[in-house]
Amino acid sequence: MFGYAGKILFVDLSTRLIKTIPTDKYAADFLGGRGIATKIAYDLIPPDADALDPENVLVMMTGPLTGVAPSSSRIDIVSLSPVTNLLGGSSAGGDFGAALKFAGYDGIVITGRSKEPTCIRIIDDEVTFHDAEACWEYDVYDTVDCVKKLGREDVQVACIGKAGANLVKTAGISFSKRNLAARGGLGAVMGSKNLKAIAVAGTKGVKVRDTKRLMEVNFEIQKRIRESPAFKKYENWHANIALSLLKARRPYFGDYEEDYWEEAEEAVRNAKRFFEEMATLRPNSCFSCPLRCWAWVEYKDEEAPMVACQGTFPAILFILKIKDPELAWKVYLRLQREGMDIMGTAAVIAYASRLGLVKLGTEDILWLIDEIVNREGPGNVLAEGVKRASEHFGVPAVYVKGGMESWSSDVRPFRGVALAGAVSESGSISRAIHGFPASSYYTKPEKAKKVAREIVGDESAAEPTNYKGKAKLVAYFENEHIIADSLGVCDTPMLSIPLELWAEAFTAATGIEMSPEKLHFYAEKIRTLERMFNVRRGVNREEDTLSPRLFESVIRSGPWKGVKLDREKFERMKDEYYKLRGWDERGIPTEETLRKYELEW
């Protein structure tokens, strides 16, 4: 096979049996990455399994472009999420995906549960198990260093920190020391399988069909990325992202407080000064990407790699209401080292402040993080995530589909974001709304309107509070994200480059003819399969919703004063969305749709 590595590695931890199957079996039907991972999860996970059962399956899949095209370093992870008990998915950049392909595997499928803590090491065809008893409670940094001592220094490591080992529901899977497949609590799945780390190094490489053409397309894609106006801004992205989120009127404060946080601007200014004057930054990139969206940050005696584009640092500032950048940095270090989803954990801590367990903006936050990681005191309940904690304490919380903590945007004024949070299969809004015109409506109005005009045919669809056209925008951007995750391309550069070029890169790498239309067909097919996975677990229209508090609260001050989310209009957006997807009014794919995409229950 060209473009693909050619085989998928299956590791059963219960029996320690290892086998490989050819990627050919799935590639023509499900493209790669997220598509194939969803198919394997659909086939292997029993509909009545629980996320932390040994029957759950953890699938890590790279795409056909991973490692061979610019900005293509992604690996997609799909499993049953312990947060929502529905399909969970998250993806990560870094060098792990490329290294896995160079070792000769398109993906790893992990089944069963190991009796003792273990670590899997993959060096080309050699797959070995190593005892991880001693490092079971290590944090991510120590784990990575520890695994590297097993032999080759250049291995890439996917691992969990102490939070994952303690089955904390906001634990992610960390790739080396910086990239995190954060959402959905997939770190807890790894922890439940007694799997501490996967290390991989490869020397085989990936064959491509048409070297000359691929190099030409790669050059063209890279040139367009480098010539885009945003490219220069990436150098100072760490200092400016919080400000741009504030300008876009996107952040929410504390536990979705109705009142605007007056000191937000001061916090943003402090953070800007922190990155520009106090800390030293060394910009870096993931494999084959020119964007340098992460940097190695050093401040006083501590250092950590920090990815800017996902807004993890702004989430700490806004959700935890921290004005002091030094404290925000300390919180960041703690969460990063434990391998935790920063947005999710911040939302949990903000909820704890509503209960009076912690005062936001103070050092107490660090104490509460430790309580959650170690599952001690109130931390034991909070570690179950916001929804289960709210059921325990009887105080209503804010969450999106299935109990997943919200993403960096305020959901209430952004109707499209609210819809995406409700219909998304994994509850992870970040898998749907990047590139959404409403997100940049106040920072780049012309561009936002243009996007809305092209997709919906109506400029007003770009307005955040307008319900009109949002269903179509959500469906469109979901497709784009599925294409990115399935090809193995990072969605940030992917959305700014015409889809034709990515299709051409695919054709050059694999020798299979591809077009933007065909890619969108694949995306719709994969989306339907994701839906089928959840419908099989009992999801229908009622589950496609947000926490009741989001419909009941009215924003009292700030730029969104007086805005509330209307339940009736929200339900109408859902109808519109189901129709676009070819699902009936209960949200179940119709027979006709299944026939169109050749899918079966």
Binding site: P70, V208, M215, F219, N284, C286, P290, R292
Partner: protein, 150 residues
């Protein structure tokens, strides 16, 4: 004679050079077969390749006298080479490599005058300069190192 100069302060460690080097020479993407390698410690990254030394240790150590300069590029005579890999041991920067798939010694050949890494590097870290410009380019590196950037 042109040389490759590395502006190590600009490198972002994306390894695009490794990708295009192996693609253009071997027709596969395989960083292990790339003649240029990005080394790094924490945030500091920079690429390393054969720098075409004047009194090259690889040439001096070769028991078969298989390594010699041809048109400004040091090449290995495949017929003479016995794959003892002594050259990889003595190279001070690790610029000589062994291709374990085709079983031959490989190193940067400046792509015959149009280096692909120079063309593809998004940050313009690698530069092809004529030999009389080398000292100037090196001095620039030192100036940046000691905070005297132009």
């Amino acid at each position: 004679m042109p040389y490759l100069i590395v502006h190590e302060d600009k490198c972002i460690g994306c390894r695009t050079c490794e990708m295009v080097c192996s693609l253009s020479h071997e027709g596969v993407v395989n960083p292990d077969l790339s003649r240029i390698h990005v080394l790094g410690y924490k945030g500091e990254k920079f690429p390393i390749m054969c720098l075409q030394c004047e009194d090259a240790p690889c040439e001096l150590v070769c028991p078969m006298e298989a390594i010699h300069m041809q048109g400004g590029i040091r090449i290995v005579d495949d017929e003479k080479c016995i794959r003892c890999k002594m050259c990889t041991l003595v190279c001070p920067i690790g610029g000589v490599l062994y291709d374990y798939i085709n079983h031959q010694m490989i190193r940067c050949d400046l792509c015959g005058g149009d280096p692909q890494c120079v063309k593809y590097c998004p940050m313009n870290v690698i530069e092809l300069v004529p030999d009389d410009a080398v000292p100037e380019a090196r001095k620039r590196g030192v100036r940046i190192l000691y905070g005297e950037a132009d």
